[in-house]
Subunit: 219 residues, 2 copies
C-alpha cells in the first residue's frame, strides 16, 4: 500500500515536470513567433496550449484521488496541495505564452514590437525562458539555489517592464496607438509569466523547507 | 467528531464569503477612486488588500488542516479542494482591484480615463461589481441561476474590453501614449477580474452539480 502511494506521489511529480517542460517549449516558440513574425509557429503554440490544460486537469484529478483514497498527512499532504497550486500557476504560464503567440498572429506579417524596443523584449523573453527552464530543473532537483536565481531574474523582468512604460512615455515615442497597446500587453504578459514562475519556485521552496518565505515583491 | 467536522467545513464556507465581500468592497472603492481621482480612497483600497491576502492564507491553512486531520472524501473533499481554488481566484480579484486603485493613485490629481471612454469604463466597473456581488450571493445561496448571470456579464465585459482597443486604434484617438498605456492596463484589469469571477462561479457550479462545465470562452 505504502509503495503504491509513493508511486502515485512520484507520478504527480513527474506530471508537474512534464507540464513545466511544455510551458518552456511554449514560451520559447511563442517568443520565436513573436520576434520573427512567424504565424505558423504562433498557431502551433496556440494549439499546443490545449495539451497543457489537459495535463493540468489530469494532474489535479490524480491529486484529488490521492487525497480521497490515501488520506496523506504531513509532508505528503503538503506535496499534494502544493502540486495543485503549482499546476494552476504553470497552466497560467502556458496561457501567457499563448497570449504572446496570439499577438504575433494578430499583427502578422508585421512584427509586434518596434525596433527601438527589440533589445528590451529579447531580454524579457530570455529571462522568461530561463525562469521556465529553471523551474523544470528545480522540480527535478529541488536545488533551492535555483529559487534565488528565479527571483533575481524576475526582479530584472520587473525593471524591464517598468522601462517599457518609460520608453512609451518619453517625448520621442512616435508609434501608433495600436502599437502602444500591443507593447503594453506584451510587456505585461512577459512580466506576469515571471511572477507565476516565482510563485512556483516559492512553493517548491516551501515543500522542501516547510518554511513559507514572505513575498518580497508586489505586483 | 462528525459535528466538529461539519462545523469546520461551514467555517471554511463562511471565510470564503467574507473574502468575497471584501473583494466587492475593494472593487467598489477602487472604481470610485478611479473615476473620482480620489487618492485617499485609492490608498485605502491598496492598504486593505493585505487583509484579503491574510484571510486567504488563513482559509488555506484551515482547509489543509481539515484535509490532514479529517481525511474528507467525496463531496466534502471536493468542497475543500474547491475552496482552495476559489480563495486563490478571489485573492487575485483583490489584487486586480488594488491595481485599479494604484492607477488612480499614480495619475492623481488627473483622471486615468479620458472623457471619451468614461461610459465604457463605467459599464466595465458596474459589471465587475455586479459579478463580485453575485459571487458572494452564489456562495451563500448556491443558486445556480447566478452562474449564468455572471457568465453573461463577463461576455459583455469581453465585448467592452475589445471596444476599448477599437477606440484606441481609431483615427480620432488623440490621447498621449501614457494614457494609452493606462487605458490598456485598466481595461485588462477589469477584464481579468470578470474572468476570475467566472472561474469562481464555475467552481461553485461544479461543487453543486458534480459536473464540470466546459469553458465557453478563451482569454
Amino acid at each position: 500500500m505504502r509503495k503504491v502511494f509513493q508511486a502515485e506521489l512520484h507520478q504527480v511529480g513527474e506530471e508537474l515536470i512534464e507540464i513545466s517542460s511544455l510551458v518552456t517549449e511554449a514560451i520559447e516558440k511563442a517568443n520565436q513567433a513573436f520576434t520573427g513574425a512567424d504565424v505558423e509557429l504562433a498557431q502551433e503554440v496556440i494549439a499546443a496550449d490545449a495539451r497543457i490544460d489537459f495535463l493540468q486537469n489530469d494532474l489535479d484529478e490524480r491529486a484529488i484521488d490521492i487525497l480521497a483514497l490515501q488520506g496523506p498527512v504531513a509532508s505528503d499532504l503538503r506535496m499534494i496541495v502544493g502540486s495543485l497550486r503549482m499546476s494552476a500557476s504553470l497552466e497560467r504560464m502556458g496561457d501567457l505564452a499563448r497570449h504572446v503567440a496570439q499577438l504575433a498572429r494578430l499583427r502578422f506579417p508585421a512584427k509586434v514590437i518596434p525596433a527601438s524596443l527589440t533589445a528590451t523584449f529579447d531580454e524579457l523573453a530570455t529571462l522568461d525562458i530561463q525562469i521556465s527552464r529553471q523551474i523544470t530543473e528545480l522540480l527535478e532537483s529541488r536545488e533551492l539555489g535555483l529559487v534565488t536565481d528565479i527571483q533575481s531574474a524576475n526582479a530584472r523582468i520587473n525593471e524591464l517592464h517598468r522601462s517599457v512604460f518609460g520608453a512609451i512615455s518619453a517625448p520621442d515615442w512616435s508609434e501608433t496607438p495600436s502599437t502602444t497597446v500591443d507593447v503594453t500587453l506584451a510587456s505585461r504578459y512577459f512580466e506576469r509569466f515571471g511572477d507565476h514562475g516565482v510563485s512556483v519556485a516559492r512553493k517548491v521552496s516551501y515543500l522542501v523547507t516547510g518554511q513559507w518565505q514572505p513575498e518580497s515583491f508586489t505586483n
